[in-house]
Symmetry: C2
Subunit: 240 residues, 2 copies
Amino acid sequence: MNENSRKAGRGLDFPRPLTTVDIVIFAIRDDALQVLLVQRGQGEGEPFPGAYALPGGFVDVDRDRDLEACARRKLKDKTGVVSPYLEQLGSWGSATRDPRGWSATHAYFALLPASVADAALAPDAQWFPLISGKVKPKLAFDHGEILQTAVQRLRSKVEYTSLPAYLMPPEFTLPELQRTFEIVLDRPLEKSAFRTRMLSADLIEPIDKMRKGPNRPAQLYRLKPAKAPVYFARTFNPPE
Amino acid sequence: MNENSRKAGRGLDFPRPLTTVDIVIFAIRDDALQVLLVQRGQGEGEPFPGAYALPGGFVDVDRDRDLEACARRKLKDKTGVVSPYLEQLGSWGSATRDPRGWSATHAYFALLPASVADAALAPDAQWFPLISGKVKPKLAFDHGEILQTAVQRLRSKVEYTSLPAYLMPPEFTLPELQRTFEIVLDRPLEKSAFRTRMLSADLIEPIDKMRKGPNRPAQLYRLKPAKAPVYFARTFNPPE
DNA sequence: TGAATAGTGTCTTTCAGACAGTATTGG
DNA sequence: CCAATACTGTCTGAAAGACACTATTCA
């Protein structure tokens, strides 16, 4: 008799790990990639009191239909944003990551347009810029590791997808889009190759409007409606 | 007071989801991509009795230090294999995927070299070929969906990484490696481009041995020791 | 007019695609 | 020698890299 049938045999009354969902929420603010963190409470029995952590918390089996709904609920609680780009990042579970016992978290990452990043922020939430892939405060639990993974994932996907488009406001110019790519990748990109790639990707469309400035105005674009991220056949710079 | 501090306030005595780990185990057998399935028991209270499912089961908070250890334990139970390529695939959790209650599974996928795929198979485990990304029996739970995701992930990573190398026996020829890529991608690849890519990837090295046959012998290669998968700057065929 | 940024064109490089051609074995 | 498969070479094309050049605004 194997382990599972043994467990089934005595019903389901064996210990269960704690189940949580955490979200790494990115946005471009002040010309930098930033991530949203919340400060943990100081109450009795709270692990890592006062420390910063990724937004998240326990799955509520009565309110959450599934993991993604749980992630969206927490995202809305903290930011007011209803439907940004949301992707599952992975899961982290071990006996030791939470002092309260064996726990597993399902981590998501979200990309917010700059325009909505500050609209309805929860009072305990705060943006932190990423300096060379890290954030200043030491994070609670294994959230530092989760954040690292999220940054890596974002960076590597940006090499060959159009993900940063989801960080843009509804209307943007090509140079602005390029700047967003450069902020995420933390390296400069070649202008003409960038333009060629974006325009041939069938991802954005020009609108009948220009961005005025102290110099030549720039064509404004918008994301084509309901566009899934585009996958390019090559990365940007053959990473050495 | 938000939901989490409320929960913390009354301790940890709120209902917890069931937590499981499932593994999609791939190997090349009979010139096809195959996946390992187990038949579920018929005992009292067993969901999906007799149906085929991915190998997996509940996390055992006493035996499993973390999720990956749990996956490795189950992998070893079913195949005897100790350290194949193992990667996290994602997690699936909802109120309805398991009739026993709210449950979340952490899914992994593993690549087994053909040489060990049959060595120490559990009696309830069985290989099934993938026909255009699907397997014949209807799977228990949401395992059909998980399998689909695993096949997609494997295919898309094969476009720009060296993953199929982990499906090879210790010694193999370049044509054999190419055949493995072709089986996974389900399309033919160009010989010279394939060879150039593999040889310039610093991934494999020739050994002082040839594969004899009824025709010109082929150089045998082996994986360079402790090689992480290689990422290529381009995909194989610009996916139209 | 000049500064500044938007946008284009041109040349080079890299590497996959196509495919022909050579190499080396057994029968 | 022939069949069969291993392996190499050569040409082409697509897209990126580098970078110069033109365009359009405001001051």
